[in-house]
């Protein structure tokens, strides 16, 4: 840790200093219902409410759209189809293959075809139902295996190769192959997708959008409406959850609202109801994973080949980077020497899948954890031993399959400590003992590690900006390019500024993300929010502090070294003034009290063409031990105990980081156990509301839930106050739950056979796996 950081951490007496567990800045507003989300912003008097007409077919040409009944329905003011879009009919973030409104060809059930504007939400939704659309059905491709067979891909297949996997496997003492299917996941943010667009003078547009990426909304709205970026302002104070689901997906909603506002000249709000939201917008990619592995008698992997194929849906969206990240994380914490990874990005006639916390990483890790677990069961040893056997080494066996050296490896100490504190050994023995005596109920336990790469893999996205104003009363207006989705980013960045200026955090106004304050910002994603925006805000604060220091030195006739900021005051030699007083004096002396900060993540350098270089600034680590019990008659299961040890570096805010660990973990448990996306043979998603799509509830969280953050382990890289990103990594700790269930299932055959368990491990999936174990007895 830098000397500067250590001093300011230790000496801070201010409220809200870095490293303190200050509550989320909006906590009181949340609890009193006064936090304003997009739908709570006062509407202009003439606001129109929109609804969207969706495709009923997975793949079809539209022969005819008859909207006569829609137009004449009560309250309807306007309708809009693809033909009404003056600019580009696209809301795709990378490749322009995502129509806002289907232009004649529909490619999934739920695709937006037309939009209605009416006097009330109810009127708009009722009117939408009156449309008559005639389709000419085309053959749909609805699942991954069919897409592979048909070579139906949204992007070319990618391959990472190192060494000679084929001969390594052939020459290995042991060989195994296997496969698994891995379901997707709906983000299920509690606040559905929403945008309100307001026409401004001279054709300009002001858009409130619940988005992780205001800058992209600005760009896509401008392109769709035939404007330039300067004509559009996008603002977002907070989202009611996002989890990646509001990285690219809000563009569709905002573009429709903006186009309708442009068309009608009135404010237009589009708020999707839950069902429409779940049917129309993208989710976590489901995958199939095939592997072949060769290994020695201790379980060390000598050669491995992976085939990952994901359901990307009807368009590219973010699937390129997501599948790349799956390839980058199919090593998890393990050294893969001779390795071939093939990644198919399948085009299907289903909703285009998108970002979700982990962004392909979880699916990649799922693959390798399946392999090491299978190896252990094949050899009849504790899976933990095989995991350890394959961990990246220190100073050896330390290069990833994409040629980045793992320089900050702490997985050994994390796992050693967790094995001790979770009492892993004794509990494994107790589980075995229990299972011997229990024919119907079976327990299982597993420890899984996490190593997750931090940075956008698209290097250019690793940049951030901040804007800081200091007013003459010494209060501060803070803005940056990050967005607040509940993760506490705004609080953490405010803590950084409080620390730098040595003023209480309540002197700092945290303000809405706004494309007119900080331009060209990246999405708040890839866990990078605090790392990048914290740094940018620190740089801005330091600029102002430097100016104030120089001014104070002159004003009080001392050297700059004698000017010290601390505890809401500034000491200049023998003079001590309040921060506010110094600011006022500086203003009188015509010192600029506003600054921008700009940060680019150092060291990263990566060549996508060869999949080699350093895509990640650093890695975040963690490990979890989970214990479950299953019912072999029904497949029902319960998580009974969890122990987590996670690496947040030197935490900016332990309370917020703890919330990310616990919340991310439980979200992962939902992905792997209860959350099942189910499409029927017609390509219709039938799990599109909480009545049918089951995210974890309160009682699913075990009473015995022990979460700790790794202590005294600052980031070895020079990040903001040596903290580590924490948004995504903890989600993957939930793989321990999946493997604990596998462990319980394997006990049915007395651990003589590899379980075949697909994810999510619903009661049905577990019972299937149990039945298969019984058959083999």
């Amino acid at each position: 840790m830098g000397a500067d950081a250590i001093t300011s951490r230790a000496n801070s007496k201010i409220a809200g200093a870095v490293g303190t567990a200050v509550p989320h800045d909006s906590a009181r507003l949340h609890a009193t219902g006064r936090a304003a989300y997009t739908d709570d912003i006062p509407e202009p008097r003439d606001v129109l409410h929109l609804a969207v007409g969706m495709s009923a077919k997975p793949h079809a040409r539209i022969r005819r759209i008859d909207l006569a009944a829609v137009i004449s329905a009560p309250g309807v003011v306007a309708v809009m189809t693809a033909a009404d879009i003056p600019g580009e009919n696209n809301c795709g973030p990378v490749v322009h293959d995502d129509p806002i409104l289907a232009p004649g060809l529909v490619q999934y059930v739920g695709q937006a075809v037309f939009s209605v504007a009416a006097g009330s939400v109810d009127q708009a939704r009722r009117a939408v139902r009156l449309a008559k659309i005639e389709y000419e059905a085309l053959d749909p491709i609805l699942d991954i295996r069919k897409a592979i067979a048909a070579k139906s891909f949204v992007l070319p297949t990618q391959k990472i190769e190192r060494g000679d996997s084929k001969s390594a496997i052939a020459n290995a003492a042991h060989r195994l192959n296997g496969s698994a299917t891995l379901g997707g996941q709906d983000q299920f943010y509690l606040e559905g997708q929403i945008a309100m667009a307001l026409p401004a003078e001279d054709g300009d547009l002001f858009v409130y959008s619940s988005t992780q990426h205001p800058g992209e909304i600005q760009l896509l709205v401008a392109e769709a409406t035939g404007k330039t970026l300067k004509d559009v302002i996008v603002e977002c104070r907070r989202m009611g959850g996002a989890f990646g689901g509001k990285e690219s997906q809000p563009a569709l909603i905002a573009c429709i609202a903006a186009l309708m506002a442009q068309k009608t000249g009135r404010a237009c709000k589009l708020r999707l109801d839950r069902d429409t939201d779940m049917i129309m917008t993208g989710k976590r990619h489901d995958f199939v994973v095939d592997y072949e592995v060769g290994f020695n008698e201790r379980g060390r992997i000598e050669g491995i080949e992976f085939m990952f194929a994901s359901r990307c849906g009807m368009s590219v969206d973010l699937s390129g980077a997501i599948n790349d990240r799956a390839m980058f994380h199919c090593d998890n914490a393990y050294f893969l020497d001779n390795v071939t990874i093939v990644s198919h990005r399948c085009k299907t006639n289903t909703v285009s899948n998108t970002a979700f916390r982990g962004f392909g990483g979880p699916q990649g890790m799922f693959g390798i954890e399946l392999v090491v677990d299978d190896i252990a069961r094949h050899l009849g040893v504790d899976p933990l031993e095989v995991r350890r056997e394959n961990f990246y080494g220190i100073g050896e066996r330390d290069t990833t399959q994409y040629r980045q050296k793992v320089e900050d490896n702490i997985i050994h100490e994390i796992v050693d400590e967790l094995v001790r504190t979770s009492d892993y050994r004794k509990r494994v023995a107790k589980v075995r003992e229990f299972n011997q005596a229990s024919p119907v109920l079976k327990r299982g336990i597993a420890l899984t590690p996490v190593k997750f790469g931090i940075s956008f893999t698209a290097t250019h996205l690793n940049q951030a900006g901040a804007l800081l104003h200091v007013y003459t009363d010494g209060t501060v207006h803070l803005n940056h390019g990050g967005t607040e989705m509940g993760q506490g980013l705004f609080t953490k960045v405010a803590q950084v500024v409080a620390n730098e200026l040595q003023i209480d955090i309540d002197r700092i106004k945290i303000t809405a993300s706004d494309t007119s304050k900080v331009p060209n910002a990246s999405a708040t994603a890839a866990s990078s929010g605090s790392d990048m925006n914290g740094k940018a805000a620190q740089i801005a604060a330091k600029k102002i502090k430097d100016r104030l220091t120089e001014f104070a030195a002159n004003h009080f006739s001392v050297t700059e070294l004698d000017v010290v900021f601390g505890n809401n005051e500034v000491r200049a030699g023998n003079n001590t003034v309040s921060f506010a007083e110094l600011v006022r004096l500086a203003w009188f002396s015509r010192i600029s009290l506003s600054a921008t900060g700009f940060y680019r993540t150092p060291k990263i350098n990566y060549d996508r063409a060869t999949f080699s270089g350093r895509p990640f600034f650093y890695f975040a680590y963690g490990a979890a031990v989970s214990e479950v019990i299953i019912d072999t008659l029904t497949g029902e299961h319960r998580l009974t105990r969890v122990d987590i040890l996670h690496d947040c570096g030197a935490s900016l805010n332990p309370a917020i980081d703890m919330g990310q660990i616990q919340g991310g973990f439980i979200q992962g448990v939902g992905w792997l156990t209860s959350e099942e996306l189910w499409w029927n043979a017609e390509g219709e998603l039938k799990t599109h509301a909480p009545s049918t799509y089951k995210i974890p509830a309160c009682s699913d969280v075990p009473e015995d839930f022990r979460v700790r953050m790794l202590e005294s382990s600052p980031n070895r890289e020079e990040t903001i106050y040596r903290s580590k990103a924490v948004g995504e990594p903890p989600l993957m700790l939930s793989l321990s739950v999946f493997h604990a269930i596998r462990d319980a299932v394997a006990s049915v055959s007395n651990n003589t056979r590899r379980p075949r368990l697909d994810s999510p491990a619903t009661p049905e999936a577990v019972l299937n796996a149990v039945t298969e174990q019984q058959v083999s007895e």
Binding site: A31, R34, R274, G486, P690, F705, E764
Partner: protein, 504 residues
């Protein structure tokens, strides 16, 4: 308005309820308007959120306060405002998240959530506040399991719930110093504030039935059973509304128009529970929350089933009568009620008839109810000495889920042989129904591994279940058989636990 409606001399044309200490009186309210729409769109009181518009996520949770059966205490119930029609608030007090913090001071539940870092994105938080408030008022010292139960209807996607559970414990440590009823947890005495709230509720409640007309729709809230029966007979196409936990979705999800609604909630004769002549006699409009304790008291083994039945906000509004009348093949109560040989008392105008619940279901969502007829009471026979009763629900999530399969069993043994057997399932056919072949194969047999195995085979002939998003037909078949086996294991010597209860 027909002549018959006018037989009742006086009807109120406007609804009244209490909000923030003020009586709100509204005329011409649209009977299809939900409480949530009213709060957010009409009052722009935006603390209460819409998360799903189907009562499954809890973001819209509000608290409805009325007088309990004695009329001397306040009854505090969380409900889902998204599917609660506005006129059902008539005569009650509504509390929303904005009601709790007075003069900028946080309510203990709110303060606890802040102190425990119980909110991240905050969108679900107002709903949690209201469910926690209801818990605070109804339970002075909840266990973890009671906290889980109280929060079963509230989804949080951010926190993983741990800090919210912590808040549910901490909130008791921080009672408001004031004498304010809102800030106090459950107490045995009636304070001045509670008393004055009861007086206020008395002042807006009269015996005069409500008849609202607005936006071309009608809402009748009769007080007397005879009047209710007359209205139903007169308007055979009307929607009979109880808790609205299903009917509400017809409007919010399907945008259906309900031109005439007849509300059961204020009908005295439909809101009583009693033990009578060997039966638990439950009025059709009794909420599940109120019916549950009576059923569980008599059939303790059904506790898990009822605790896992939807969520507190749904059970507070929803009724056993509605669950039965709805005719869903996957309602949780029916298999158990069928094996208990429950009867439903149906009424048309002045005449009643009794139908066995097993005969009530004719086909998918079709029941024996005739036009103008309604369920008046549900009669569950009292337990018989020596019989064993059990019901199991299989779903993807333990709490607040709809079953893939729900099985119920009732067994009477004599000398180790099956003297009487009832086996019924939900989720296995278009209606909840008995497994006749399975029952036949068991009658008179030893209650043994061998005969249960034969009965499990018979189940395959009883049902041809479908595949859907809740499970495949094969899983339904397998688990249907295995649940019978579980019942056998639990009723024979080898008692086994259920995973649902382990570790909590």
């Amino acid at each position: 308005m027909s002549a018959r409606d006018l037989d009742v001399p006086v009807q109120r044309r406007s609804m009244r309820f209490i909000l923030d200490g003020e009586v709100v009186e509204i005329e011409n309210v649209d009977p299809n308007r939900t409480v949530l729409q009213y709060l957010r769109e009409d009052l722009r009181r935006c603390g209460t959120k819409e998360g799903c518009a189907e009562g499954d996520c809890g973001a819209c949770t509000v608290v409805v306060v009325d007088r309990d059966v004695s009329g001397k205490r306040l009854r505090v119930r969380a409900v889902n405002s998204c599917i609660q029609f506005l006129p059902t608030l008539d005569g009650k007090e509504l509390l929303t998240v904005e009601s709790l913090s007075t003069d900028g001071e946080l309510h203990p539940t709110q303060k606890a959530l802040v102190d425990c870092h119980g909110s991240q994105c905050g969108f679900c938080t107002p709903g949690f506040v209201m469910s926690l408030f209801a818990l605070h008022k109804n339970n002075a010292d909840p266990t973890r399991r009671e906290i889980d139960e109280a929060l079963a209807g509230n989804l949080c996607r951010c926190t993983g719930y741990s800090p919210i559970v912590e808040a549910a414990r901490v909130m008791y440590a921080d009672e408001l110093q004031s004498k304010c009823w809102l800030g106090q947890s459950r107490s045995s005495t009636v304070g001045a504030d509670e008393q004055s709230r009861i007086v206020a509720l008395n002042s807006i409640d009269t015996d005069v039935p409500l008849c609202i007309e607005g936006h071309g729709r009608k809402f009748f809230a009769p007080r007397e059973l005879d009047h209710f029966a007359d209205l139903v007979a007169l308007h055979p196409d009307a929607t009979i509304l109880s808790g609205g936990t299903d009917v509400g979705l017809w409007v919010t999800k399907q945008q259906r128009d309900l031109p005439i609604i007849i509300y059961t909630g204020n009908v005295a004769g439909l809101n009583e529970c009693l033990v009578d002549d060997g039966y638990l006699d439950i009025g059709a409009a009794v909420s599940l929350t109120d019916a549950m304790p009576l059923i569980i008291e008599n059939y303790p083994t059904l506790e898990e089933l009822f605790v896992r039945f939807a969520s507190p906000p749904i059970r507070n509004a929803g009724t056993l009568g509605g669950n039965i009348a709805n005719g869903s093949p996957i309602g949780d109560s029916m298999p158990a009620l069928i094996v208990l040989e429950t009867e439903v008392v149906l009424r048309t105008g002045g005449s009643t008839r009794s139908v066995a619940l097993n005969d009530f279901y004719l086909a998918y969502q079709r029941t024996a109810l005739r036009p103008g007829e309604f369920i008046e009471r549900i009669r569950i026979p009292l337990p018989v000495e020596g019989e064993q009763v059990q019901s199991y629900k299989i779903s993807k999530r333990f709490d607040q889920d709809i079953s893939a399969v729900c099985g119920a069993y009732r067994l009477q043994l004599a000398d180790g042989k099956v003297e009487k057997i009832g086996v019924a399932y939900g989720g296995m056919a278009a209606i909840p129904s008995r497994a006749s072949l399975c029952e036949q194969s068991l009658m008179g047999q030893e209650w043994s591994e061998a005969s249960v195995s034969r009965a499990m085979q018979a189940l395959d002939k009883d049902f041809s279940p479908i595949s859907d998003m809740r499970s495949s037909s094969q899983y339904r078949r397998n688990v249907c058989r295995n649940l019978l086996r579980r019942f056998y294991l639990e009723t024979s010597a080898s008692v086994i636990e259920r995973v649902y209860s382990i570790g909590r």
